[in-house]
């Protein structure tokens, strides 16, 4: 068991960690405390300038997301929603259980909760990658001068240590990221009787592109679109909740299908997206399996990075999470035809070139069948204060009702 300090990850005795957490009850600060805003602003600057930008563009994206101007928008929105007789206060002790193999997600969960004024305990991803270790020392450096390091704990512990159980019982708020199985296993342990546990379950996402609009685009616009789709698909190895698994062409793309995929593949090559041999083989197996089972009619291996399976619409289309550049390609003639793939597991629909009327219809069927976000391509993985339909800041705070 280890705790992150200014000297890096240091071993800590479980009892000492629990005692430290116990001592933090009522140590929260008011929401949007200037100190928190300053810490995050400082962090934002350092992330935008990170020396790891090339290998880890997600750090830069995180930096932009934490810009003071962005955060003040969130504050404004929050305050506007607050009833006149209510004052917001921190929820208390928050426990963040982020996915174990995505190295930036925990920062979004933690940063919002810091902004809410909470004391935070964050379990770090299991593997201390170069990105993570740079990120953690940067966070530690920005917290230290503001005297916040004591109330913001980042730790790492093995599953058999019972720490999730012990920390949960002290938590006013628990954020579980990492899918259905993780939520089920963590939920065996209760939070405080008046605590709140939020689970962010397995979600699936896809993209809808207007064939008519794409056909009308010039080379520059097509390259820009391919760049956005590259980010959406390849960040997080196509295994993020918002990563598109399927491209639906509204209308007949004809040869534009190959045109778009060639452009995406060229960008992946230029960005040096690398595919390990086992992953490449697994993608080849996947294509063969789907063809053998008649779940796809044609497979194209553009390169080791991008493979595309042409398929028909069916309810199981989104079930396969192959990842690492395995796209399904489906043509539809009417936007309502995607209804069978929408369900409670649907998260993000990214769109390109849809008309106002098509978007309106899409929103109607999303409201009815499923889906939480409809955003332009390029924003599939952008984090939002409202996640999977839940206003995070609302849940990270409590309200003090005053009638005087």
């Amino acid at each position: 068991m280890e705790l992150f300090t200014k000297n890096g990850l240091q071993p800590i005795d479980p009892e000492a960690l629990v005692a430290q957490v116990d001592a933090l009850t009522f140590s929260g600060r008011p929401p949007f405390d200037p100190k928190s805003v300053e810490v995050l602003g400082d962090l934002s600057k350092r992330l935008i300038r990170t020396p790891l930008a090339k290998q880890a563009p997600q750090l830069v994206a995180l930096g932009f997301w934490l810009r003071p101007s962005q955060l003040s928008l969130a504050v404004k929105r929050f305050n506007a929603k607050l009833p006149a007789e209510a004052r917001a206060k921190a929820r208390g002790i928050a426990l963040h259980l982020p996915p174990q193999n995505v190295d930036t997600l925990f920062v979004y969960s933690w940063a919002l909760s810091l902004l809410a004024g909470n004391v935070n305990i964050t379990r770090l991803p299991s593997e201390m990658t170069d990105n993570l270790s740079w990120l953690m020392s940067t966070i530690s450096e920005v917290l230290e001068p503001h005297g916040l390091a004591k109330t913001q704990l980042f730790c790492s512990y093995p599953h058999y240590s019972h720490m999730t159980e012990r920390l949960s019982s002290r938590a006013d708020l628990r954020m579980i990221w990492g899918g259905d199985a993780k939520i089920a296993s963590v939920s065996k342990f209760t939070v405080r009787p008046d605590g709140l546990s939020l689970g962010f379950s397995d979600r699936k996402s896809f993209s809808v592109i207007s064939a008519r609009a794409y056909a009308a685009m010039d080379d520059a616009a097509r390259d820009a679109a391919a760049g956005h789709l590259y980010n959406d698909i390849f960040w997080f190895d196509q295994l993020g909740c918002g990563s598109p698994r399927v491209v639906f062409w509204l209308g007949s793309p004809n040869n534009d299908r190959q045109d778009l995929y060639r452009r995406i593949d060229a960008i992946a090559l230029q960005k040096e997206y690398s595919v390990e041999t086992a992953t490449a083989l697994s993608k080849i197996s996947h294509m063969n399996e789907r063809l053998a089972s008649a779940q796809a009619s044609k497979a194209t291996r553009y390169s080791n990075r991008l493979s595309v399976l042409e398929a028909q619409i069916d309810g199981t289309l989104l079930d396969s999470a192959q990842g690492a550049g395995m796209l399904y390609d489906v043509s539809i003639s009417n936007i309502t035809q995607i209804s069978p793939v929408l369900n409670r597991h649907t998260q993000t629909i990214t769109h390109l070139g849809l008309s106002k009327a098509e978007l309106t219809t899409l929103i109607q069927i999303m409201a009815r069948y499923g889906g939480y976000r409809l955003v332009p391509i390029g924003n599939a993985l952008s984090f939002s204060n409202v996640w999977d339909g839940v206003d995070l800041m609302d849940h990270m705070t409590r309200q003090l009702i005053t009638q005087t």
């Binding site: 299991s126 599953h159 990221w177 295994l239 086992a278 992953t279 063969n288 053998a292 044609k298 080791n304």
Partner: protein
Amino acid sequence: MLDKYLALTPYSLAVSERRAKMLEDLNALTLYHATNCEPYRRILDGLWGGQTGAACVEDMPYLPVSLFKTHQLLSVANDAVRATLTSSGTTGAVVSQIYVDSDTSRNQQLGLANSLGHILGKKRLPMLVLDTDATFRNPKYMNARGAGVLGMMRFGRDHHFALTPDLEPAVDVVETFLDKHGDGPFFMFGFTFLVWTRFFEALKDRGLDLSNGVLIHSGGWKKMEEQAVDNSVFRARFQKSFCLEKIYNFYGMVEQLGSIFLEGPDGLLYPPNFSDVIIRDPETFAPTPKGTAGIIQVLSLIPGSYPGHSLLTEDMGVIEAVDADHEGWNGNGLRVIGRVPKAELRGCSDVVSQKLSV
């Protein structure tokens, strides 16, 4: 189809001659399977442009070997299946299912006999099995290992089993066998890891004389690497402790049973005349030249009842010699590097296993 290959001196065909001979027969197999195995047809149509006549062996369509774990692939009627072979696998792992009819079964036997005859001679030799008979006698334990042992036992006689059901050395059996047969040529077979850990390690200091024996072993080097034992160490130690020189490792898989890549005089693994190997670049999947490592693709004319004549394995290897003609051995001399290492992807969803999560 096999006869013209079996008539030749085993392991003698040079690469270009071999490929020129095999191309037509491989194409015939592709066409046959495409006509008789619907899932295979769909793969050819969807991924290979419907091609059944490759212009060269390198252009032959191939299936990933994993497909036999997820799909029932057969090119004969269900009631023609004589045996279903399964791959070895750790408990709980999904195994390959290979459906063999009487023709394919016969060809497997002929292929194997051709290869083994080359080193064992025409006559069946007394056989010391470096395993236990429990591996095939008890149906509860019957697995790929048991099937492998049984398959090899056809090529020997007066079988003795060097290990007890608990995999301890049966010293008295070994001594009895050597008293009876040790003065003339005899045959030994076992799986590499068991041969090393259960037979060699246990008996190395007993001064056994195996100098008249021929040892054939297979099963991969992954677990052996953990013991820092490679083929040359394995050979040297057997020679030192038991005066055993005639040792043949082989590479083969249940998906192409009957085609064994046998260790030649230079220590490399050679495909039989009716079989070949292509190494593919892990990035482009184009064939690599001699000396460049990549993913192993195996070709064989034996699979008739299932579309297994051209398979992309999950093993890495390198061709280190081409038509070297050591003692008449020709073709591609393969060194197997081992399994493609596992990859880990990122993602929002944690896999809840022993290792991660809570």
